[in-house]
């Protein structure tokens, strides 16, 4: 028993030694390489890992496409419809569908109760995000959860008539839809 304990203790000490050697090698190699990483990232990873956007097929929410003739404005929808921009606030401020409200969607955190309550009085909810630049880009699909997830969650939270815009803001712009700048009303 004592021998085993001693052996485990020795292994643990050696493991710390190997760890230190590996860290030292890593730091030296990183310092001399051309495509080195900063030891602490200067920019947030948020824009790389969380863009609650693009659209996908196979959702329980019904896809709604903004009509080109409606200029992509919320007036193109039946009365009582609210358009939800699910992107980060900074992206929303840079430009959004006129009249849209910003409900930032984090699929890990879910939708805040207050946001759900705010949307409840409306007869219908249409969600949109950025839309993928390249539909064939698998990486974008992995790093950008689809806005249909938000549509699904809103439905599950008791909202009726929840849809998402196919192609997102990108498709809206490509159809000649107008963009409005500024923060959440």
């Amino acid at each position: 028993m004592r021998t085993r304990m001693l052996q485990m203790g020795r292994d643990s000490v050696r493991a710390v030694g190997v760890l230190l050697v590996a860290v030292l090698l890593a730091l030296v190699f990183n310092a001399v390489r051309t495509n080195r990483l900063d030891l602490v990232a200067r920019e947030s990873f948020e824009s790389l890992i969380f863009q609650p956007c693009p659209e996908t097929e196979g959702t329980s929410a019904e896809a709604v496409v903004l009509k080109p003739e409606g200029g992509g404005e919320t007036t193109a929808f039946p009365e009582g419809t609210v358009v939800v921009d699910a992107r980060p606030a900074s992206r929303y401020a840079e430009g959004h569908v006129p009249g849209a409200v910003n409900v930032v969607y984090d699929e890990l955190e879910g939708v805040p109760d207050a946001a759900v309550e705010k949307l409840k009085p409306f007869k219908a909810v249409v969600v949109y995000c950025d839309g993928w630049e390249d539909e064939a880009d698998e990486t974008a699909r992995y790093t950008n959860p689809p806005s249909s997830l938000l549509a699904d969650e809103l439905k599950a939270r008791g909202l009726a008539n929840v849809s998402y815009m196919e192609g997102g803001l990108r498709a809206h712009v490509s159809r000649g839809g107008r963009i409005e700048k500024g923060g959440n009303p």
Binding site: D11, A22, L37, L108, Y142, T143
Partner: protein
């Protein structure tokens, strides 16, 4: 099969197979990450389990730990120690994947650099890592690294010294 044959040949042979396989997996996993640390940093960040300030440090250091442990495991240098490190990493990976699955994250595990080698994480990813964890545990518990640097050093030692050290690797 006699106990002696089992101890002298069978266990060390199985140990060698397990070490080469598991070490190879870790070397392969480390290689792509060392070549492209930026992509690996995004993979780590995607799990959202590590503070952003620590993501790059982990992206720089972890692949080298995988490489060093993998190479040493294959070479049979302190194999129990390497198995301990490999298992510690595997436990960390399993917890991370389990956490991501629990949160319904649709992502690749970031275990290997090649996109072709990676499907979305799933229960199978956890089972695969558990299998590797089992191999690591076997290497640690069997302590039968006759074939490798430790075994060679052991064989070169004078018999009297070997006797005093009880043949420990």
């Amino acid at each position: 099969m006699s106990r002696g044959t089992l101890r002298t040949w069978v266990l060390p042979s199985l140990d060698l197979l397990a070490r080469v396989y598991l070490g190879g997996v870790f070397v392969l996993a480390a290689w792509g990450k060392i070549l492209d640390p930026y992509s690996f940093s995004i993979s780590i960040a995607t799990y959202q389990m590590v503070p952003e300030s620590a993501v790059n440090l982990m992206a720089i250091g972890l692949p080298w730990l995988e490489l060093v442990a993998g190479v040493a495991l294959i070479a049979g240098f302190w194999p129990r120690t390497q198995a301990l490190l490999v298992n510690a990493m595997l436990v960390m990976f399993i917890l991370a994947i389990w956490w991501a699955l629990a949160h319904d994250l649709k992502m690749q595990c970031g275990c290997f650099a090649s996109k072709e080698a990676e499907a979305d994480i799933s229960g199978m990813t956890v089972i695969r890592d558990l299998f590797w964890l089992g191999l690591g545990t076997f290497i640690y518990v069997a302590d039968a690294s006759r074939f490798g640097i430790d075994g060679l050093l052991q064989a070169l030692r004078p018999k009297s010294v070997r006797g005093e050290q009880g043949g420990a690797s």
